[in-house]
Amino acid sequence: MNDRLRESVSALMDGEADELELRRLLASDDAVVRTAWHDFHLARDGMAGVDMRFAQMDISQRVQAALADDVVAAPSLTARWWRPVASFAVAASVATVVAVGARHFNANSGDNTAVAQASIPTPTTNGRVFAAPVQSGVGNVAVSATLNTSPLQPVSLDPDQLAQQRLQQYLLQHSERASLNNGQGAITFARVSQLDAPK
């Protein structure tokens, strides 16, 4: 690890890392960086006379396992199925930006705040998690990675979701009708590949 990274780790501990440094640390995904983070805390805690009995306890494996189990629901086939028509893509993308922005706002304003802060030192799946105190000053930086991990809040269905559900029902009806007409019988129903129960 070069001195620059080491300085960045130190700055991060002191709550003085700027966004660029934080991102560089996160991107490095380096065992040496994590070890330095661990060692710096040990040294600081030792100097401060903090109880060191649990200093060697590494819960990162369990946390990682828990994170791995917490699979974010993959978009259903119909979700991937549905696309706005190209000629309307501009309007649609604007709507998407608005939606993402609102989601971001929710993630950082509600109950998810604690999650967002806690997840800052562990943004990569390989990161080890130590029972180190996280200073609130570190959390000043908005880290977009939390967007991907915070579960979507159940909200009333948006028009696109309705469109997908509608489409699924249409597809089933169409397939039944088609099975009467295309000479291929029940094979036609293979196309109704995603029978998502209406949420």
Binding site: W81, F88, L172, N182, G183, A186, R191, L195
Partner: protein, 336 residues
């Protein structure tokens, strides 16, 4: 979900599987006696439509579309004197579709639908499919360990897909079907990996629905409603209609209520359905399209006298066809 229409089988006494044969088969099957008159390729198509409806068969299929592949098990035959078919998805969440007689059950959706589909045949639809497709026997192949005859079906215009079919040499059963777009790319492929033909159905193959007809009664969401045949809505009575349809497509499944909002058209091979819905629910921000394999759905936002409504065309047709049909739907009456 409303799948309510009329099946003529009760009224006419024609067996269900006869009704279930395609437009194609009705045209091609009649000359079972006079097969010598029709070209070999059309004889094979006639055998296909018959065998799919009349034979007992059970096998595992693969369904490939885009970069995806799915596995399914198809069981078909006669059970309790009625046609039975069951299509089980073998990948992902367990889900299946069972049809026994007129009852269509989608397990996982938890829905049981008494399907009263009425096949509304127009004379025009029975006329030569070779007007719209160029059909030829393209040789032999081997599919699912069986000797197969390959049929190439090329569209004569750009409004429909082409097909490459492999039929079982001994029975005419469809062993493989591929839908091809105008560039000759395979949009989807369905084929048996292994299939057994002609054996009696075993009870354990039928699934819970056939064995326990009331198992799902708690979630039954529609009641069969006897519908007199004269209440079937003619195309001319619908409040809306497509002003344009690709040549050869005729109304093949009619609604029995004008309010039902769906009409299905077919040229004998390709099928498309038009759904028209006036809804209070939030509307999508724009027109939308969806594609999977050969299936395309095109949703168009429209407005009639200030009333927004949705027109959606779903079918195994090129996107351009779906879009054009959706754009051609218009209201007949002053108010929707």
């Amino acid at each position: 979900m409303h799948l309510s229409n009329l099946d003529t089988s009760q009224h006419t006494g024609i067996s269900i599987h006869t009704l279930r044969s395609s437009l194609l088969s009705l045209w091609l099957a009649l000359p079972c006696v006079a097969v010598a008159d029709s070209p070999q390729s059309e004889q094979w198509l006639g055998r296909l439509a018959h065998s799919m409806d009349e034979l007992n068969y059970r096998g595992v299929m693969s369904y490939a579309h885009g970069a995806q592949m799915e596995s399914l098990r198809l069981t078909h035959g006669i059970f309790d004197g009625e046609e039975f078919e069951r299509l089980e998805h073998l990948d992902g969440a367990p889900r299946e579709i069972i049809r026994h007689g007129k009852q269509l059950t989608c397990i996982q959706l938890g829905q049981r639908v008494d399907s009263l589909l009425h096949r509304h045949l127009l004379k025009a639809g029975l006329e030569g499919i070779d007007r719209y497709y160029d059909i030829e026997v393209a040789g032999e192949d081997r599919v699912a360990g069986r000797r197969a005859v390959v049929l190439n079906i090329k569209p004569r215009d750009q409004f429909r897909f082409g097909y490459r079919l492999a039929l079982d040499h001994d029975t005419g059963l469809l062993l493989r079907t591929e839908a091809l777009d105008d560039a000759g790319r395979v949009r989807e492929r369905l084929q048996f990996v292994e299939v057994e033909i002609g054996m009696p159905l075993k009870k354990e193959w039928l699934g819970d629905v056939a064995n326990h007809p009331t198992a799902n009664s708690a979630v039954t969401n529609s009641k069969p409603e006897p519908v007199l045949i004269d209440r079937v809505v003619e195309e001319a009575q619908m409040p809306w209609r497509p002003e344009w349809m690709p040549p050869g497509f005729v109304l093949s499944v009619a609604p029995h209520r004008a309010s039902e909002g769906v009409m299905t058209y077919s040229d004998g091979l390709a099928v498309l359905s038009i759904f028209v819905e006036i809804t209070q629910a939030p509307l999508p921000a724009s027109d939308g399209r969806a594609m999977q394999g050969a299936t395309v759905a095109y949703t168009k936002l429209a407005n009639f006298n200030g009333q927004p409504y949705l027109v959606t065309v779903v079918g195994e047709v090129p996107e351009m066809t779906a879009q054009r049909v959706a754009s051609a739907v218009s209201w007949r009456n002053p108010t929707p």
